[in-house]
Structure formats: structure tokens, C-alpha cells
């Protein structure tokens, strides 16, 4: 089975201060990888390259062993298999939970379904199923997102990710600004969802949460500092990664 995602010598930004500088990384199906590094290390840039929002200036991105498609439609099909959980969730406040969940299917839907969803929310059973999987009441489907609590919003964002049916889960600092209990819940859920054949690449600010991950990748100043199994990670490596960085 080919790797889910392969980044080969990725460079983003000018030569004097690149945001990513020759970073190579491979992510296998079922693998759970934590991306570590101080602020400004290039973690968000790497996530943006991985989900296709950012094209690298140098280097190559392979999806399931194939280069990123150049044609729009094929590229969109590839991107539909990569789901991102954003730190600010990026839910659409004015739409209902169900319409938000279905927004994750827009890549597969044509205009008629997309418009109909705005009139009469579609696919209720599938939407209810993803909510139930995350212990959310299906009665929430008709609620506007703006009426949800913080914890519910986190889970609805996760449900939207599930509704997308991605093979690779990306998460950009999803635990930042969450209280410890919510952060622990969310991390557990994410690790559970990342079961084979799915993979997970999650950027983290807290090395103390590495327990459920297979591998840890350290980034600093846009460069790869380490990439190794979590159980072989030395405390000194983490200290060196964050040494002198702003708290």
C-alpha cells in the first residue's frame, strides 16, 4: 500500500527566511503523527501544504504515491480525501448543523444538491450517524451553529470532518485555547478516528500529550529537527526543540 502523503524536500517562502526549508515527511495509512515545534516553526505552513491550500515553491507533494493532480477536478477529488480540523473550527455560523455537515460533501456534490441543501437540508440519516458517533444528540441537526456551546461546536467540527470521509486527518493546533478537559476529550476522539486506513497529522504545542501518537516530527525555523517514533524520543530532543523559543 502506498504512503498516504509524501512531502519531498518542501520549501515555502523566500530563500532568506523560508517558512519551510527542505522538509521531507512520509505518512502511512493508520499512522498517527504529532507535529511539534515552537511558534513560527512552520507547523501551520506544513499543514497548509499537506491540505493543498499552499503550493510549495520547491519540492514535491505525493498523494497515495502520485503527484498532486494538475487538473482542477482531479485535484479537488484528492483534496476531498484530506480533512482538516481548524483551530478556529471554521463552522458557518448562519447555517444549521446539518447544513454545515453537508458542506463537507460539496466536493462530491453538484450545484443542484448544494442549492437544495440550503433550502431543505439533505442526507439526514448520514448526518445523524456522524453526530451519534461523537455522542451528540441528532436533535442538534436543525440547530443553527451559533446556538451551540463551545464543546458542541468542537464536536460538530469533528463530525463535519467525519462527514467528509477523509483518508488523512490534519489538525492545526486543535487543542490550543481549550481547557484541559476539553483538550483531552478532543485528542482522544481524534486518535480514535485515526484508525486504519486513516492517518493523522496533528500539530501540537504540548509535548506532554504525545502518548497516543506513533511518531513525532519536530520542526524549528522551517526545518525538520527530528522525525522518529514517540517511544524513542529523548527529553533532551524536546528541550532542544523549544530552547530559547518564546513561551
Amino acid at each position: 500500500m502506498p504512503s498516504l502523503l509524501t512531502l519531498e524536500s518542501i520549501t515555502v517562502g523566500g530563500r532568506s527566511q523560508p517558512r519551510l526549508d527542505g522538509v521531507s515527511l512520509r505518512l502511512e495509512p493508520g499512522e498517527r503523527v504529532a507535529l511539534l515545534g515552537p511558534s513560527g516553526a512552520g507547523k501551520s505552513t506544513l499543514i497548509a501544504v499537506a491540505n493543498g491550500l499552499l503550493s510549495p515553491d520547491h519540492g514535491q507533494v505525493l498523494w497515495q504515491g502520485e503527484p498532486r493532480a494538475r487538473r482542477r477536478r482531479a485535484r479537488r477529488r484528492q483534496q476531498a480525501r484530506i480533512g482538516t480540523l481548524w483551530q478556529d473550527l471554521r463552522l458557518i455560523e448562519e447555517l444549521t448543523v446539518q447544513q454545515n455537515l453537508n458542506a463537507a460533501r460539496l466536493a462530491a456534490w453538484g450545484w443542484p444538491r448544494a442549492l437544495l441543501n440550503l433550502l431543505l437540508p439533505l442526507d439526514s440519516p448520514a448526518c445523524a450517524a456522524v453526530l451519534q458517533r461523537l455522542d451528540l444528540d441528532p436533535a442538534l441537526l436543525n440547530q443553527p451553529v451559533s446556538a451551540l456551546s463551545g464543546g458542541q461546536r468542537q464536536r460538530v467540527a469533528l463530525a463535519r470532518l467525519l462527514r467528509q470521509e477523509p483518508l488523512l486527518l490534519l489538525a492545526d493546533e486543535p487543542l490550543a485555547s481549550l481547557d484541559p478537559r476539553l483538550a483531552a476529550d478532543l485528542l482522544t476522539l481524534l486518535l480514535e478516528l485515526a484508525s486504519p486506513p486513516r492517518g493523522l497529522l496533528l500539530s501540537l504545542h504540548r509535548p506532554d500529550l504525545l502518548a497516543g501518537f506513533d511518531r513525532a516530527v519536530g520542526l524549528r525555523d522551517g526545518r525538520l529537527v527530528f522525525d522518529q517514533p514517540c517511544n524513542r524520543l529523548e527529553p533532551g530532543q524536546l528541550e532542544a526543540l523549544y530552547a530559547g523559543a518564546e513561551p
Binding site: 479537488r76 484528492q78 476531498a80 455560523e93 444549521t96 460539496l106 456534490w109
Partner: protein, 533 residues
């Protein structure tokens, strides 16, 4: 089944279906060659020094009229705005009742379009530069007054109350507590009014009140399309420069005013504002001198042809229901076309950046191109009537709404759109779901306000036989039928006041978001129509 927010934005575009169905019935097809020549001439504007000299001269007059009319409207509007502010009356006299009366009085000059003021004044004092200036200053002044009083009455009053309870006299307390928060908003709004004044000055020119508008109309009527485009491109350049300059000044002065109180920028900003204000006075004097504007000449009324005894029977026999229905239909059609087409076109061009640039250019042309000229152009291929008038008015307002939509889209829903793109959604659907969701309410609220403006503007396409109160009014003006004129102006004023009330209600309903915990983007009511009069 309730349509979600992004659909609201698209629903008005459904008006295209009946419009497209009706178009073949009113087209006569005789002038397509002329329209082709007009379009081709856009690429070959006349560079003849004589033409350019004449166009530049006309542009100078239009810009001068706009500047003077704008300055007059600001002075008038600020004074009347303060005079009609409830909080000012309450602080000074303890009762806000007089503010309400002044507001009601100001509704009359506001409801009459500057073109009507211009034509009425023209009848009274003859053709002179001051006519166009005053014609702009009166309705614009009344509009500025309403906005200033609305702004004053919605500012927080805690500081004012604290100062008053500390014994500060009313004028000083008002100036100290309300002046600083009011200033940036007034500056921002007055910049927008200057753009409107330039458009209005061009429009007044089309009706013979001098400047570039007159040149544009004459060249269009004599089919001198290359000369026409020389003027049009020049006007476009000036309009875009003005918009860019005002946008820059807004960002530099108005926007950061309350956020950077501890930065040195405030001192610099205040100095620049004072310098700009002081620099404006000699400039206004110079422009007035160059244009030979003599305010005293306005007092010398010319002899009117003898008015016969009022024939109220003839007034009553006017086809009032038809006139009013046509005016309302014209307004609704034009407003729906403009409101619906802007987001639809934005969606269509979304995947192609080059087409987006072209669309912006087309909208800029729509903004500055006076609707009567569009109507005249449409008459090459369409028969006169409500639909032709609505298309002309719709195109003009599409330019204004399109620009507003673009500005709002820049600050609303970008992260949501990006998230959808990252999940593989197509660019159009990402725009529809991601950005239009947040934009829907403020955009439609502005659209409701725009409909109210269009109702007032409907008089300007009366010239080309777009039947309704506007055309009847122009007929009454040219036949010196004073009784009909009075009745029609009153009917127009009443209708626009009613429209204003309806549009205010629609706006309030739209902006009354039921769940506002975490709105994204700005699009706050003031920008979305509250103050953009």
C-alpha cells in the same frame, strides 16, 4: 422549509427570468449596429486635442460643482444634523420633541432628487453654475443631517452624563463626549458623499446643467462614440482615483481613530485633518471663483411665464394609479436586478481572476455612467418603457452594490471559504457557502436601503419615457403646469417617504440577527446601510 442565508442573496436574481422573457417583446433590433459601434469605440477613444480639451474643461466644471455641492451639503448637514439630534436637544433643553419636528421637516428636501431640485431652480433663476451646486447641496445636506443625527443619537452617553453631572455646560459636554467618537464616522461617510456628489454632478450635466454630463449626452446623441469614450475613460480614471484616495484616507484617518489612542498616529492624524480642512477652504474659494458661482444671483428670480389658474380637475384626472404603479414597478425591478445580479456575477467569475478584474471594471463604469445615458443607449435596441428604465437604473446600482459586495466579501468569511476549498469544494460553492452566508443579511439590508434610493432616482429615467411619476413630472416642468408639478412633487415626496419607511423596516428586520454569539466578519449595520445614505 426556510431558505438558508446564502440562498437569500441569490433569490433576487430570479427576476432575470421574467426580464429575459420580456426583452424580445420590447426589442426592435434596429440599433444593434450602433451598439456595436459604441462598444468598439471604447478601444479607440478620440485623442484629438480639441476633444480632449473640451472633455477636460467639462470634467473640471463637473468636479468643481461636485466639490462645492458636497462642501455645502456637509456644512448644512452637520448644522441640521446637530439641530435634529434628540440627544442634543435633551441635553440642552431637557426635551427631545423639537428634534422630531425638525427631522420630519428635513424628510421633504431629502425625498426630492437632486435632479428635481436642479430643474426647479433652473426654472426659477435660469442657467448658472450655482444651480447645480445648490441642487446637490439641498438633498445631500438633508441626507447628511439624518445620518449625523442618527449617529449622534446612537453613541453611548455615559461620558456625556458623567460630564453633565460634574457640572459641565451642555455645549462643552456634548462636544467633549460626542465629538471624538462622531468625527471618524462623519469623515468616513463624507468621503462616500463626495463620490456620490461627483456622480450627481455628472448626472445634472446630462440634463443641461453644465460640465462633462452635457458633453457626454451631446456626443451620445450625435453618435460621436469615440469622443464619448474620451470623456468616459477620463471620468472613470478620476472616479477610481477618487475612490482609491478616499479609501486610503478612510483607513489612515477614520478607522484607527478609536483603537490607537496611545499611538503617536493620533497627533499626526489630527494635524492632517486640520490641515486638510484648512486647505479645503481656499480650494473651495478658488473653485467657486473659477466656476463663477455667485450665490447672490440665486436671489434674482427670472420672470416666469404667466401661470394660468390652477386646474385641479386636470390634476385629479392624471392617471395616478398607473403612474404610481409604474414608478413602484420600475423601482422594484431595478432594485431586484441590481441586488440579485451582483452576487450572481461574482459567483460566475469566481474561478477566473481575469474575469473578476473585468467585472470590477464593468461595475466601475456602471457606477459613473449616468442612468439616463444608459437608457438612451438602450433605446437604440429597446422600446421606451418601464423595463428599459429599470435596466438603466439597475445597471447603475449594480455598479454601486457590486463594489459594496466586494468590499464586504474581503472581510467576511475568508476562513470558512478557505476551509471549504481545502476540503475539495469548487471555488463557486466555497464562495456561496463560505462567504455569502455571513454577507447575506448586511448585503440585503443595504439592498433594501438601495431600493429606497432607486425610488428617488426613478425620476432620472423619466426622460426616456420610462412611464411613471418621473416622466409625468418632467412633462409638467416643461409645460409650466405649476399645479401638476406641485401635485406630482408632493406625490413623489410621499411615495419616497413611504419607501424610506418600508426600507428602514426591512433593514431592521434583516439586521436583527437571531443568534449573534459569534458572528464572523464585520458587515456591521452602519456600513451595511445604516449610515451609507
Amino acid at each position: 422549509m426556510r431558505p438558508a442565508a446564502p440562498l437569500w442573496v441569490l433569490l433576487p436574481a430570479l427576476v432575470l427570468l421574467p426580464v429575459l422573457a420580456l426583452l424580445p417583446g420590447i426589442s426592435h433590433g434596429g440599433g444593434w449596429e450602433l451598439v456595436g459601434q459604441f462598444a468598439a469605440a471604447a478601444l479607440q477613444p478620440s485623442l484629438d486635442p480639441l476633444v480632449l480639451g473640451s472633455v477636460l474643461g467639462g470634467l473640471g466644471i463637473t468636479a468643481g460643482i461636485a466639490l462645492l455641492g458636497w462642501a455645502g451639503s456637509l456644512a448644512l448637514g452637520l448644522l441640521l444634523g446637530i439641530a435634529s439630534s434628540r440627544v442634543v436637544w435633551r441635553t440642552c433643553t431637557g426635551s427631545a420633541t423639537p428634534a422630531g419636528w425638525i427631522r420630519r421637516l428635513l424628510a421633504v428636501p431629502r425625498s426630492i432628487h437632486e435632479l428635481l431640485w436642479g430643474l426647479l431652480l433652473l426654472q426659477l433663476v435660469g442657467l448658472q453654475p450655482a444651480v447645480a451646486v445648490v441642487a446637490i447641496a439641498i438633498p445631500f445636506g438633508a441626507l447628511v443631517a439624518r445620518v449625523v443625527s442618527d449617529l449622534l443619537d446612537t453613541l453611548p452617553t455615559a461620558t456625556l452624563e458623567a460630564l453633565r453631572s460634574g457640572g459641565a455646560p451642555a455645549p462643552a459636554a456634548l462636544l467633549t463626549a460626542l465629538g471624538p467618537p462622531l468625527l471618524p464616522q462623519v469623515i468616513s461617510y463624507s468621503g462616500y458623499r463626495l463620490e456620490c456628489a461627483l456622480r450627481s454632478a455628472t448626472l445634472l450635466g446630462v440634463f443641461g446643467l453644465g460640465g462633462l454630463g452635457t458633453e457626454l449626452r451631446l456626443t451620445l446623441q450625435s453618435l460621436a462614440f469615440r469622443e464619448l469614450w474620451s470623456g468616459l475613460w477620463l471620468l472613470l480614471a478620476v472616479m477610481l482615483l477618487l475612490e482609491a484616495l478616499l479609501g486610503w484616507l478612510r483607513r489612515r484617518w477614520a478607522m484607527p481613530a478609536r483603537l490607537s489612542l496611545r499611538q503617536r498616529a493620533v497627533g499626526r492624524q489630527a494635524r492632517e485633518l486640520v490641515a486638510a480642512g484648512l486647505g479645503l477652504l481656499p480650494l473651495l474659494a478658488l473653485v467657486a471663483w473659477r466656476l463663477e458661482v455667485e450665490p447672490t444671483a440665486l436671489l434674482q428670480w427670472q420672470g416666469l411665464p404667466p401661470l394660468g389658474p390652477a386646474d385641479w380637475g386636470a390634476v385629479a384626472s392624471l392617471p395616478w394609479p398607473g403612474l404610481i404603479a409604474n414608478t413602484v414597478l420600475l423601482t422594484v425591478l431595478a432594485a431586484t436586478l441590481a441586488v440579485g445580479l451582483a452576487p450572481l456575477l461574482l459567483l460566475v467569475v469566481e474561478p477566473w481572476p481575469a474575469a473578476g478584474v473585468l467585472l470590477r471594471g464593468l461595475w466601475a463604469l456602471g457606477r459613473l455612467w449616468p442612468p439616463p445615458l444608459t437608457a438612451l443607449l438602450l433605446l437604440f435596441v429597446l422600446q421606451p418603457g418601464v423595463l428599459t428604465g429599470a435596466l438603466a437604473l439597475g445597471f447603475h446600482n449594480l455598479g454601486i452594490l457590486g463594489r459594496l459586495l466586494l468590499e464586504a466579501a474581503e472581510t467576511t468569511g475568508a476562513p470558512q471559504q478557505q476551509a471549504l476549498l481545502a476540503a475539495g469544494s469548487g471555488p463557486r460553492l466555497a464562495l456561496l457557502y463560505g462567504r455569502f452566508s455571513g454577507l447575506a443579511r448586511p448585503y440585503l439590508a443595504y439592498g433594501a436601503y438601495r431600493a429606497d434610493v432607486i425610488l428617488r432616482e426613478s425620476v432620472v429615467v423619466g426622460l426616456v419615457g420610462a412611464t411613471g411619476l418621473g416622466s409625468q413630472l418632467l412633462e409638467a416642468l416643461s409645460s409650466f403646469a405649476g399645479d401638476q408639478l406641485l401635485a406630482l412633487v408632493l406625490a413623489y415626496a410621499l411615495l419616497t417617504l413611504l419607501g424610506e419607511d418600508l426600507s428602514d423596516r426591512a433593514r431592521l428586520w434583516l439586521l436583527e440577527t437571531p443568534h449573534q454569539e459569534t458572528p464572523h466578519g464585520d458587515g456591521h449595520p452602519q456600513e451595511a446601510g445604516g449610515a451609507w445614505r
